[in-house]
């Protein structure tokens, strides 16, 4: 099984340690991982802002780079969801039948659903509050959305519970948006920041030391608020916890 690792643009430059943890975790689980060096961005920032056409050449580029792998794995639920949900339609405009849409997985989803692991050697003796990101929950179905009357589950909590010493919490309003939303965060600044503050209040109220999630973009937005307001909570991506001690 050959996996192409997709490290989204902002993870590449702001959170490279998340990429490193992804690589370590996947290889430790016996997966052959390659990182195609010419990768850039999936195109979601432009598309969500209303410039979907600008994402088409990026989709083509992405497709060329990642087509040769059995799976494409990314430590970012939102980027994975964008490729999965939108690439087929975007590439259809170019008369191209999209391949990567069926191959891409968020890393938590990949480990949970494809590798189906039931043990991990990691240890993380801390209290964490799980951040259920909108696109992770409502597009990739990483957990049961709070609005739906379906059996309750959480792939992220399943994985975290394999880690030794961890205490897992979830905030009130368990999957309410944190207010990032790509360019929403700078077009609707007041609402975006307000949503971030409210989300943080709920995370902090759990008594957790860390907020963890599958989307670094949500964490980046909330970290911006935490750093401005000097709030008492830290951030860590789920893969960093799963890879702790490797």
């Amino acid at each position: 099984m050959k996996v192409g690792l997709f490290i989204p643009c902002y993870v590449n430059t702001i959170y490279p340690e998340v990429g490193v943890a992804s690589y370590k975790l996947l290889t430790s689980l016996g997966v052959e991982v390659d990182y195609p060096i010419d990768q850039t961005c999936c195109g979601q920032p432009m598309a969500n802002a209303g410039f979907e056409d600008k994402a088409i050449p990026l989709a083509k580029h992405f497709e060329e780079i990642f087509d040769k792998y059995d799976y494409v794995v990314a430590p970012s639920a939102s980027c994975a969801a964008f490729v999965k949900e939108n690439y087929p339609r975007l590439l259809e405009k170019e008369d191209h039948l999209c391949q990567t849409s069926g191959k891409i997985h968020d890393i938590c989803e990949f480990i949970h659903d494809v590798l189906k692991i039931d043990r991990l050697p990691s240890r993380f003796p801390h209290k964490v509050s799980v951040h259920n990101s909108c696109h992770g929950v409502r597009e990739l179905h990483l957990s049961s959305a709070s609005e739906l009357n379906i059996p309750r589950y959480s792939k992220i909590k399943d994985l975290l519970s394999l880690v030794d010493g961890i205490e897992i919490f979830e905030p009130q309003n368990v999957d309410e948006c944190c207010g990032f939303g790509g360019m929403f965060s700078i077009e609707e600044t007041a609402v975006s920041v307000c949503m971030g503050q409210d989300k943080l209040k709920n995370h902090i109220a759990t008594g957790a030391e860390f907020i963890t999630g599958a989307d670094s973009s949500c964490l980046m937005h909330m970290q911006g608020v935490v750093n401005r307001e000097k709030l008492p909570i830290k951030f860590i991506h789920v893969v960093q916890i799963l890879a702790a001690g490797l």
Binding site: N12, I37, G50, I150, N173, E176, T189, M195, R228
Partner: protein, 458 residues
């Protein structure tokens, strides 16, 4: 980078106490809705069924509208057809003038808001009285509704107390909800007794019988139609459903989704005029048939106006109904506004973080977020795209399409970390209003990979 919505939202949030209270009040309604939804094992099946019934009905709307109208006429109801708001208002006014009606008592109707009926009638000498408590409060305040089901949700009881003191001469400083409701009730009782005509909206029009079904909690629609001799129903053609069997699906979904009640206190079925009285139905198009041909937005016609999308919307809850420029706010309002006029109402399209929660609560499974996403794609072609966003998107695109340039940019990004604060945090930096910028890593993942640093960490 801003829109009329984001500016109004910013003003709303500046009053933190009001914003918090508004947010929490509507979240409370969302939670009530959740409890109801979780109590019904077949909830998701019901939503799917509801979606399919509505899609079927709007796909055969010509047939069902005709069936509805001919059954209503067979029941002795006078049916009128209005192609737009103007015709609707003219028809209603003519019915009233023919009957020499001086006073019209109304129950809640968003369609009459859409048509600006009240102003039209008042200008022509007719006394119009809203009888839904929330609507009455707003009429006394001369304000429009800020929510389609909970029209006065932006007001606190103290504000209502002060208003009633002035208008209904209630006790000074008394804002006890029971006291205020009783005062409104007494005042409205007199209006009901002296009205010449009653008007209701319509939640569902049943094609197989011609019935009009109106759901209220206050019984005001029943008072307004039981006393005066004329009953006028104002309804959009998309309110029609095939039969009573399908009605049962909607009466199970509506109140649960809207207010978290198992059912509204009153679900009234009107089939024919009372003895010696008249019943009129005004069937209104006002742009609805245009939507029928629009595959990207046809699903808006499935809406049953429950307001659940507003209650769950994290943006609506924190910005209030008045921050939107269309009279219907929230996710459904963003879409309906754009369908009414892309030119006039494009400022609301920013009011969405694409969180998808509204899609999940909608009892008709309207693809609300997907539609908002699609409207955003149209903004550039109608000249309404934000120039800054466009520039940023083009800039990013230029970078992302050139992997070598992208890698160079990755290398130089950390320079930003050490730039003086005044250069980073100024009027141009929207992110910096309320948030610190992220810190760029000393070395990007790509650079580490190229140097073999990632692989060596095995």
């Amino acid at each position: 980078m801003s829109t009329k919505h984001s500016e109004a939202a910013s003003r709303f949030i500046a009053n933190k106490e009001q914003e918090t209270w508004h947010n929490e009040t509507l979240w409370f309604v969302r939670e009530k809705r959740d409890r109801m939804a979780m109590g019904i094992p077949e909830w998701e099946k019901l939503r799917e069924l509801s979606s399919q019934i509505k899609m079927h009905t709007v796909s055969h709307l010509d047939k069902y509208v005709e069936q509805f109208a001919s059954n209503a006429e067979a029941n002795g109801v006078i049916v009128h057809w209005a192609k737009d708001a103007q015709e609707h208002n003219e028809i209603v006014c003519k019915i009233l003038k023919d009957k020499e009606a001086k006073k019209l008592v109304k129950s809640k109707s968003m369609l009459t808001e859409e048509c600006h009926l009240n102003d039209y009638l008042i200008e022509r000498g007719i006394d119009v009285v809203e009888s839904d408590l929330g609507e009455r409060i707003l009429q006394l305040k001369n304000e429009p509704p800020s929510h389609i089901v909970l029209p006065a949700i932006h007001l606190k009881r103290q504000q209502v107390g002060e208003l009633f003191e002035e208008k209904l001469h209630t006790e000074e400083g008394n804002s006890d909800p029971t006291y205020l409701t009783r005062a409104a009730r007494q005042h409205l009782r007199n209006e009901f007794l002296t009205a010449d005509a009653g008007m209701t909206g319509c939640n569902f029009g049943v094609a197989e019988t011609g019935d009009v079904v109106v759901c209220t909690n206050e019984g005001n629609a029943d008072m307004g139609t039981s006393l005066p001799k004329v009953h006028i129903v104002s309804m959009g053609i998309e309110k029609i459903i095939p039969n009573h069997k399908s009605l049962a699906v909607y009466t199970r979904l509506l109140a649960r989704s809207a207010t978290g009640q198992p059912v509204t206190s009153y679900t009234s079925h009107f089939r024919k005029p009372r003895k010696g009285c008249e019943m009129h139905i005004v069937l209104v198009d006002n742009g609805r048939t245009d939507i029928l041909g629009d595959k990207d937005h046809i699903q808006t016609l499935k809406c049953i106006r429950c307001g659940a999308c507003m209650n769950t919307c994290p943006v609506y809850r924190r910005s209030g109904g008045y921050s939107y420029t269309y009279f219907i706010p929230g996710p459904i309002g963003i879409n309906l506004g754009m369908l009414k006029s892309e030119d006039k109402y494009s400022d609301n399209v920013s009011a969405c973080s694409l969180c998808y929660s509204c899609n999940n609560v909608c009892p008709a499974k309207i693809d609300l977020v997907d539609q908002i996403y699609r409207w955003r794609q149209d903004l550039d072609s109608i000249g309404k795209a934000d120039p800054m966003k466009k520039m940023m998107s083009s800039g990013l695109n230029m970078l992302f399409l050139r992997p070598k340039l992208y890698r160079t940019a990755l290398k130089f990004a950390p320079i930003v970390n050490n730039m003086p604060r005044f250069m980073l945090y100024n009027g141009l930096n929207e992110w910096g209003k309320g948030r610190e910028l992220p810190t760029f890593a000393k070395e990007s993942f790509t650079s580490m990979w190229k140097k073999g640093k990632v692989q060596n960490k095995k």
